[in-house]
């Protein structure tokens, strides 16, 4: 099967088996998936289902052992070398010896952006994540939510069309998470990026996504792909509507069906 040209990410029979001391562990198997430009795709599933592994394969942080995958029509390695994605990790991973603006400048320094343009870009992405005025602070002077926003700004700084986010709000409390989800949707609408978002929260996945990929563990695989019928404009209280609850129910069902536990 040839990947459709509109796809940003196209996986065919993708599999990854880790060799460990206790024998091979199949992290992913038989993943067929197409992600179109401008999609907001959530990957949801219990731990061990391979959702983070899949994201790392897209980012060329892991190499698949089976099947094929293209990112922007090329191999993940070429996509990485072309700096075609920004990656937001589970932890903010800001360098503690750099101020917020210097942290955001890090990818720009590495990619050789001239200093004047660097400054303009830093200001722009700080505004996008609502951190204007915090550029001169060191990471420890900011709260956890602000640090994670700074790390999103860092991923946005070099204007890649694809944003890969690995449970970016997993460690934050509910209220902060709601707020950041709302901001992320606004940001997505403003920038028109393709976003792949790993989460284990059903409401978060349903609230954010145009497409929800439900995964299950042992071995890691895709069990359901749900296309959201929710409008693009989503206030927080959309989570009380029947339509929202219906999608959430389907996600929950998919998760339950995929569970291999016996109890």
């Amino acid at each position: 099967m040839i990947p459709s040209p509109a796809s940003v990410i196209s996986a065919r029979k993708l599999g990854l088996t880790f060799k460990t001391a206790d024998g091979p562990v199949t992290a992913l198997t038989g993943v067929d998936l197409d992600i179109a430009k401008g999609d907001f795709v959530s990957f949801i599933g219990p731990s061990g289902c391979g959702k983070t592994t899949f994201l790392r394969v897209i980012a060329d942080l892991e190499r698949p052992t089976d099947g094929t995958i293209t990112v922007n029509g090329t191999t993940p390695e070429d996509a990485r070398r072309n700096r075609s994605y920004g990656y937001v990790f589970q932890a903010a991973a800001l360098y503690p010896w750099r101020t917020i603006e210097d942290n955001i400048a890090l990818p720009l320094e590495i990619m050789g952006t001239p200093p004047a343009e660097r400054k303009a870009r830093i200001e722009r992405v700080l505004a996008l994540v609502n951190l204007t005025g915090f550029g001169r602070k060191f990471p420890w002077q900011l709260s956890g939510g602000m640090q994670q926003r700074a790390s999103i700004a860092r991923a946005l700084a070099f204007d890649a069309d694809l944003l890969l986010m690995d449970e970016p709000f997993g460690a934050l409390d509910e209220i902060v998470r709601d707020h950041l989800n709302e901001q992320l949707l606004k940001l997505w609408a403003q920038t028109n990026k393709t976003i792949c978002f790993v989460t284990h929260s059903i409401p978060e996945a349903v609230y954010l996504s145009t497409k929800i990929v439900v995964m299950s563990p042992r071995p890691g695989r895709v069990t359901d792909v749900i296309t959201s019928t929710l409008p693009k404009e989503r206030p927080l209280d959309i989570r009380e509507t029947p339509e929202f609850l219906e999608i959430a129910a389907r996600v929950r069902e998919g998760l339950r069906a995929g569970h291999s536990y016996d109890e």
Binding site: L61, R80, Y87, Y95, P96, T99, W140
Partner: protein, 294 residues
């Protein structure tokens, strides 16, 4: 308020310990120097009163253990009362040792950092070099120092450099060990981030590994500067005791000048303290610039 706190928390404990050391030292001096006085009296066929005995033990020419005031008088005399160009000035000798210490420390630091960078980036170097680095420190420096001096002399190298190289031999080790650990200290997530930017190994080194290694570097530097001084002093012993604190120690022991030995020892200890203090201040300055939590 804060002054009384400083008084209670810092000055008082230090002064207490200092007084205790002085009392112990005087008692030990009296006890160790007394046999000589009793022998002298016995040879003269007289006995000596306790007050005279105590008084005499504090002012012997060549005491077993000089009393504190004798050492400090000697220190004062050889630092303040002598021109620093004089060979009898302790400042002159301290400078001779210090210059070799600093040169050896500088070479050792550069060498240690270069080796650590190589070890971290090259698997073959990691495997082949690290055992030698460790083995080098198991050889007693006292055995190696004369050979280094003699060999270097044979190829026409003399003066400050052979001594400095003995400092280097000692000081590069903590730098290598500390920097290897420091350069490997970044977390996987920080390295993954660099990979997503397709950063070159040189960029990973300068923008991630190097800054992450700074706390390790300064901890190593503190150890390295202190043992550099030891290396320079040891390096002075086999040179025939021409100049330097090592020479003062050796000359003092040749002629039984215990007061001279002790004052050289104090000078060396003071020098080490100042050097470690300076490195510590540099450390604090760098940490502050790197945004450390106050």
């Amino acid at each position: 308020m804060s002054q009384t706190h400083a008084m209670r928390d810092k000055i008082l404990p230090v002064v207490t310990i200092l007084l205790a050391v002085l009392v112990f030292w005087y008692a030990a001096a009296a006890w160790l120097n007394a046999p000589f006085e009793r022998d002298t009296a016995a040879r003269a066929g007289t006995t000596i009163a306790l007050t005279d005995l105590l008084k005499n033990t504090m002012m012997q020419e060549r005491p077993v253990l000089p009393a504190p005031h004798q050492v400090f008088a000697e220190l004062w005399d050889t630092t303040v009362n002598k021109p620093i160009t004089s060979k009898r000035s302790l400042v002159y000798h301290a400078w001779v040792t210090l210059s070799a210490t600093l040169l050896g420390f500088a070479i050792g630091t550069v060498l240690g950092i270069v080796l650590a960078v190589g070890i971290v980036h090259n698997r073959a170097m990691d495997r082949s070099l690290m055992p030698w680095v460790i083995a080098s420190q198991t050889i007693p420096i006292l055995a190696v120092a004369p050979m280094i001096i003699v060999v270097l002399n044979a190829i026409g190298l003399s003066g400050i450099l052979p001594k400095a190289l003995i400092s280097t031999y000692l000081s590069f080790f903590p730098i290598v060990v500390g920097m290897v650990k420091g350069l490997r200290s970044p977390e996987q997530i920080q390295l993954d981030l660099m990979r997503t930017y397709d950063a070159s190994p040189a960029q990973v080194l300068t923008k991630l590994r190097w800054p992450a290694a700074m706390p390790y570097l300064f901890t190593s530097l503190k150890v390295a500067i202190a043992i550099s001084l030891v290396g320079a002093i040891v390096g002075e012993l086999p040179t025939g005791a021409v100049a330097g604190l090592g020479a003062r120690l050796l000359a003092g022991s040749y002629y039984g000048q215990t007061v001279q030995i002790w004052s050289a020892l104090f000078m060396a200890a003071g020098l080490a303290a100042v050097l470690v203090l300076v490195v510590g201040m540099l450390h604090a300055m760098v940490l502050k610039r790197m945004g450390a939590r106050p």
